[in-house]
């Protein structure tokens, strides 16, 4: 499997750690270099420092948090206490399984539907593919909007059901267009050779096209998974009252952002303004928990993001 990857990417990244400065380019001045370094350092700090503070606070004991007067910047003894607490909290546990379930099932469904559609529209000369493509692209610019969509989903009985979190957003036309532009570039000779060997389109998709486009598949799967994992508004629309069915983002919003007490903690109930807010380290642990799946997956996909998977398709 690595062979396929490196074939596409090594030329761009792997061999040299430092690109050669072309001979005509001026030697960088000390001032220029330090300005550039400072700018890049600043950008990195703005991105990473808040994450660092959140993670460190989530790993700090309550007395360390108290001494720091809130968020902890420098770690002083690390503990997983907050994580043990939230992972035994029934609300968070349910939310975690809801989020994971929606993300896994949703991504699987979206990928199957999108890959099939993209391949189905990628072969030149197939009947009607241009018309279908236009009908797809139209939906990117013309839509019913919030309320008509809400009425359709509730009309189909989606109110309070899981599928309302998945099906309405299962197809992203943009993602299909990205996949399609890659499949369209798959070597025609390879496909013709497979056809000579008697392979049908299903077979070609599975054993020729998919194996040669793993990078784009990984990126699109990340897009879908992140979309499902992050979705929160459709929970507000379709499952607003039933805290048993809330995904993690909604728990984060309610207990951290809005500071409502966690149902698991003492005498707290959602909706009571005076309910005890969870300790800061616990709150930050919930924040980190919503990040963990992304941080697990991201390292495997980020190199494909860099190597221009998307750019070919921007102007579908």
């Amino acid at each position: 499997m690595t062979k396929v990857f490196t074939a596409g990417t090594s030329a761009a990244t792997a061999p040299r750690a430092r690109a050669e400065r072309p001979p005509w380019q001026e030697r960088p001045t000390v001032a220029g270099r330090s300005a550039k370094g400072g700018a890049i350092g600043g950008v990195l700090a703005v991105m990473l420092v808040p994450l660092w503070i959140v993670v460190v606070t989530s790993l700090s004991a309550p007395d360390v948090v108290n001494r720091a007067g809130g968020l902890v910047v420098w770690p002083d003894g690390l503990t997983f206490q907050a994580y043990r607490e939230i992972l035994t909290d029934p609300t968070v546990r349910t939310a975690l399984s809801v989020s994971l379930g929606v993300a896994v099932i949703g991504t699987a469904l979206s990928m199957v539907v999108s890959v099939l559609c993209a391949y189905g529209l990628s072969r030149p000369g197939s009947p009607g593919h241009r018309l279908i493509l236009v009908l797809l692209i139209v939906t990117m610019f013309v839509g019913g909007g919030l309320i008509p969509t809400f009425l359709v989903v509730t009309g189909l009985g989606g109110y309070g059901r899981w599928w309302a979190l998945i099906l309405p957003s299962a197809v992203s036309v943009f993602n299909i267009l990205v996949l399609r532009s890659f499949y369209a570039k798959t070597s025609g000779e390879l496909i013709d050779a497979a056809r000579m060997d008697g392979a049908g389109d299903w077979r070609i998709l599975w054993s020729v096209v998919l194996p040669t486009s793993r990078a784009v598949t990984a990126v699109i799967a990340l897009f879908y998974a992140v979309g499902y994992w992050n979705s929160f508004f459709n929970v507000m629309l379709y499952l607003p009252t039933d805290s048993e069915k809330w995904p993690l983002q909604y728990v984060l919003l309610t207990y951290v952002n809005r500071g409502a007490g966690m149902p698991g903690s003492v005498n707290a109930g959602f909706g009571m303004a005076h309910a005890r807010t969870a300790p800061l380290s616990t709150q930050m642990a919930v924040v980190v928990l919503t990040l963990v799946p992304l941080l697990v997956v991201y390292p495997f996909v980020q190199k494909h993001l860099r190597t221009g998977v998307l750019t070919g398709a921007v102007k579908g």
């Binding site: 990195l44 703005v46 991105m47 309320i147 929160f232 952002n257 980020q302």
Partner: protein, 311 residues
């Protein structure tokens, strides 16, 4: 776009249908989902011209003509939401738009491949964060009990709660957008930069053009097409400033500053059950957005650029 016209002879439709029936079957699931969740709501837009009554449904509700639009345009809250939306869009255009370009130029000038890859991976990351998460992080950093005020308090300085202050709300939401999306925004510009012809730079340098003149006369003209495309998209989306972003923060700063068209449609359409009014607000937004895209494209064409679609 596709190579169909390069095929020499086209077999008849019958033959092609039979040959490609698996291809057509593959399209069916996506087509069905789009029909149900994207095309069917278009018929739901009829509710904007009705006194929509949920039990009666779209088919049996009473027709209202343009009554809902009359109500909409008579509602000062709607005009407030429209004004907020346009104002926030404009501020974001001015403050956000140049940042990804500058960041891409900066990154492109870094020779070390490892540094470049690392920075790229880091700045792409927040694009994948949810709005709930981004706003929570901002709240923890800049809010009343956040890191900034914690620091100010411990040094006996005046505290400053940025997250609930309507006066600075524009800057707050813009910096949230910058933090989350500016890094991701460089993708298209980096691609355009890497497609640039290095020979041009060499020739210019040989002719005595310094780094800034090379940037002004080669790099920026080379990016013009992408910049115009991004501007067209931006203008088309002028009426959709981050919906979830405002929904989450609306209560903290009050609806006078944080109500935008989308939250207006949500609160007065779904939360209060006045579906027809909300649908009218949504339809108004879609029509104006389409006009904006079309207009922006006309302008792009008149400058000799492709814009979103070609002439």
């Amino acid at each position: 776009m596709s190579a169909s016209h390069t095929r020499q002879e086209r077999p008849g439709l019958r033959i092609r249908l039979r040959r490609d029936r698996s291809l057509l079957i593959m399209v069916v699931p996506a087509a069905v989902l789009l029909l149900v969740f994207n095309y069917a709501p278009l018929f739901g837009l009829l509710t904007a011209f009705q006194y929509y009554d949920p039990p009666a449904g779209v088919w049996n509700s009473e027709w209202a003509g343009f009554e809902q639009f009359r109500r909409l345009f008579a509602d000062p809250l709607f005009w407030g939401a429209l004004r907020n939306t346009l104002y926030l869009s404009l501020v974001q255009l001015v403050l956000f738009f140049p940042i990804p370009i500058a960041l891409a130029l900066l990154l492109n000038s870094v020779l070390g491949v490892r540094v470049r890859n690392f920075v790229q991976s880091v700045v792409y990351l927040p694009h994948f964060f949810s709005w709930v998460l981004v706003i929570t992080i901002f709240q923890q950093m800049l809010g009343g009990a956040g890191a900034l005020n914690q620091f100010l308090r411990s040094h006996d300085l005046q505290t400053w709660d940025i997250t609930t202050n309507p006066g600075t709300f524009v800057l707050l939401v813009t910096s949230q957008v910058v933090w989350k999306e500016a890094g991701w925004g460089i993708v298209v510009f980096l691609a355009a930069l890497s497609a640039m012809n290095p020979g041009l730079y060499e020739a210019a340098a040989v002719d005595g053009a310094g780094p800034f003149r090379r940037m002004w006369h080669i790099t920026l003209p080379g990016l013009r097409g992408v910049i115009v495309l991004m501007l067209v998209l931006r203008l088309g989306g002028a009426l959709s400033v981050g919906f979830e972003q405002f929904l989450i923060q609306r209560d903290a700063v009050g609806h006078e500053t944080a109500e935008v068209l989308d939250t207006y449609a949500f609160y007065y359409g779904i939360a209060t059950g006045d579906y027809s009014l909300g649908a009218a607000a949504g339809l108004f937004k879609s029509v104006i957005s389409l006009l904006l895209i079309w207009g922006a494209n006309r302008i792009a064409h008149s400058f000799g650029e492709d814009g979103l679609y070609r002439r």
